[in-house]
Amino acid sequence: MTRYGRTGQLVRLNFRRDRFRILMWILILAALMASVAWKFEGIYGTPREINAIKDTLASPGIVAMFGAFSFKGQVTTAEIFANEMLLFMALIQVVMNLALSVHATRAEEDLGITELVRAHAVGTTAPLLAATIELVIVNGLLGILYSVGLMAANMPGATTEGNWLIGLGLATTGLLFGILGLLTAQVADHAPSATGLAYAVFGISYLARMITDVQHPRLTWWSPLGWVEKLAPYNDPRWLPVGLSLLLAFVLLQLALLANSRRDIGAGAITTRPGRAQASAMLRGPATLIWRRQRNVIIAWIVAVIIFGVAYGTVFNTIGDILKTNPTMQQVFGAAMVHEANHKVLLSFTSLLAIVMAAVAIIPGMQLILKLHTDETRGWLEALYARPLSRTHVLFSYVGIAFVTSTLAFIGGLAGIVVMGDASLTHVKDGISATEFWHGVAAQLPEIWVFLALSVLLVGCWPRLKTLSWLYLALGFISVYMGSLLKLPDWVKNVTPTGWMPRVPQHALDWTTFSWMVVLAVVLILIGWLGYRRRDLQMS
């Protein structure tokens, strides 16, 4: 029996196990790509529309979010499309790959399934190889669907080579990070640790590309996530990034195989250390239990959001200095007008980022609330409920920590942007004032709370539907991240709470909207609470 024996059977088994999640990812991603491409000529079809968006895309704020691209000569619809979509699609595809790769390897091992499989006549490396093949097939299929979708959309300026370059470029970027997940799954000794490690690398790659894009786009070559930006599919097609991704993926795979062949089942290089023999005085109830279990994740999220805020803040002095792009303006309008204009630009930039930041800050809170149900199905709540603890007590312990986490993460992230941003300015008065900052906070908090309250409602009343909270958040995120660039109709933006509040501090804070959103959040939580008190707990 070779080391790879029965890999084929395991690949089939993997696809059977993951068929719904793979199908959902592929359908959503391929449909997103194809439908945007399909609509794109209608959005940016005329030279006037293209020239208007071209300047917007060159502004540092947008570069920070979508990447730096260079345009030459007459810009086509397809080039604008590539600029707006490549990095964004790559991000989603990386998230998909990290989820799939850790799920297929370390998570299975944690559950003891790998042990069961390996007890049969299955090669020692077969499970890892099967996961690799699964990732290659999923990414390859997705890449082909992207290319076919782009062919069908037939945007002005699109070329066959460019279409395939986009498909394969995204596929290889996804695969690269998927393989990274396979490697961290070999290095860490349990699934959450493997996921955390992989996301840390992903986060660093993102920050590296963002900072280099804004300042020295040439250096973006050093971030694997930056390679998709270098494809330049429709103006100067380059296959080097595809090759680089494949090469690095191959190297990482070798490392993963090496680590896999040298370790015991269930073990990893980063091992779980022994801990306290007795509980600390602080650990005494459901709320402190969640904190004890999740503190690393909670702290990591808050710190990560703050770092992102600070990173975005560093571009304030580039964005908020109109004279850099338009040196004659001061002579024409005078200093006061220039400062006023700088302030306006920064307000609009901060308002946009505040919405993105809010969507990111919701994630850890939503995870905590949905964890209430995950813990329930894993049997962890059984031990709690055998104690004198009411449903109300346990529910609000999870919900309370979730709300505090998301709220703090958001305030921290926005503060990171504003504090760092103001500090980087030569004229502090151009920056965001404290009042404007707090109005920005107040404008986004109700949105964060409504999203979290919806999760409470689902976990309380219809826990089977809890995945809907992620889809709804994704919809909200896409509608704000891409909404204005794709010129989505208003009703789409208003489907989720992200679109209910006007952009603050660019516009004034609307206290009426604020109030009814808070009331809505409270009502959703109350209904969820009543449902949770009444329903059966689901046990394994």
Binding site: A277, Q278, A383, L384, A386, P388, L389
Partner: protein, 297 residues
């Protein structure tokens, strides 16, 4: 006589169209160990989850300490200890942390008794729960339960992962609880354990309690195994209420089983045929179990 600690009356539970519990009725009193036996999927764990207020009964009543198990669960759990069959522990906490946390949530604290139990069971409390085997996870739950000063203890197949030494420690601890006048509900598959420890037994099948009573009571319902060596050629197969007659190794030696109601007649008749040796074995719980589930001896 005092009121029973646990009282269940015609308890029912439906999951959708599936009737998991059809008719469960039994009591558990103070100072009593009640054995709850039945095959997998008969409804033991479902019954216990109703008792814990984790799921809501669709019919009948259940009360512990005279309080409703669903509406008053918090008050009840103040005086209750529970060890589940499959113990799931928070993976990134150590065993020691979990024991202390569980105790604190009942308003008690880590005591000398806890240390004692940790030592007896041979648990390493500094290991993260993720690294524990099934037996070690059970030990964590058992140590927390025995450290607690409760009035009613529920054990759901608590020894399925323990080695024989630890099983003995468990049994001794349960007998100590009984001495202190506590009530214990023990659901188990290990029939020898139930036979040794339980005062009364309830047998559940397909969501229904089909028999409750002491082991002695139940033995009357089934047959006694008899091995006898007689002094003459009497054919025992002619006796009333005798089954499975087999000739033994020696001449005039017979093995057979007798229905309880015919036992005295059979013995009287045998007495007239010069009994040289006689052995009688009461049915074990295993025999009873087989009797109820397969309808065979």
């Amino acid at each position: 006589m005092t009121d029973p600690v646990l009282q269940i009356n015609h308890l029912q539970k439906k999951f959708g169209h599936f009737q998991a519990l059809k008719d469960i009725t039994f009591d558990v009193h103070s100072g009593e160990v009640f054995g709850f036996i039945g095959p997998n999927g008969a409804g033991k764990s479902t019954t216990i989850r109703v008792l814990l207020g984790l799921i809501r009964a669709t019919g009948g009543t259940a009360s512990i300490f005279g309080q409703n198990v669903w509406t008053d669960s918090v008050a009840i759990h103040q005086r209750l200890a529970y060890v589940p069959g499959d113990v799931y522990l928070w993976p990134n906490l150590t065993g020691g942390e979990i024991i202390d946390l569980l105790l604190k949530m009942n308003g008690t604290a880590h005591s000398a008794k806890t240390d004692d139990l940790i030592q007896q069971f041979g648990l390493d409390p500094t290991k993260k729960a993720r690294t524990y085997s099934k037996g070690n996870r059970q030990k964590v739950a058992l140590i927390a339960a025995f450290s607690q000063d409760a009035d009613f203890y529920i054990f759901d197949e608590p020894t399925s992962g323990l080695d024989p030494l630890n099983e003995r420690i468990f049994q001794d601890a349960v007998m100590a609880l009984k001495q202190q006048g506590k009530a214990v509900l023990l659901s188990s598959h290990i029939l020898s354990e139930v036979e040794r420890m339980c005062d009364r037994i309830g047998i559940i099948r397909e969501g229904q309690i089909i028999e409750t009573g002491s082991l002695a009571d139940m033995r009357h319902l089934t047959r006694t195994m008899v091995t006898v060596t007689l002094g003459d050629d009497f054919d025992v197969a002619t006796l009333p209420g005798v089954h499975g007659v087999e000739a033994g190794h020696a001449p005039h030696e017979w093995q057979f089983s007798v229905e309880a109601e015919h036992l005295s007649t059979v013995m009287a008749t045998l007495g007239q045929h010069h009994i040289a040796a006689l052995q009688s074995t009461p049915p074990t719980l295993e025999d009873l179990f087989m009797h109820y589930y397969t309808g065979k001896e």
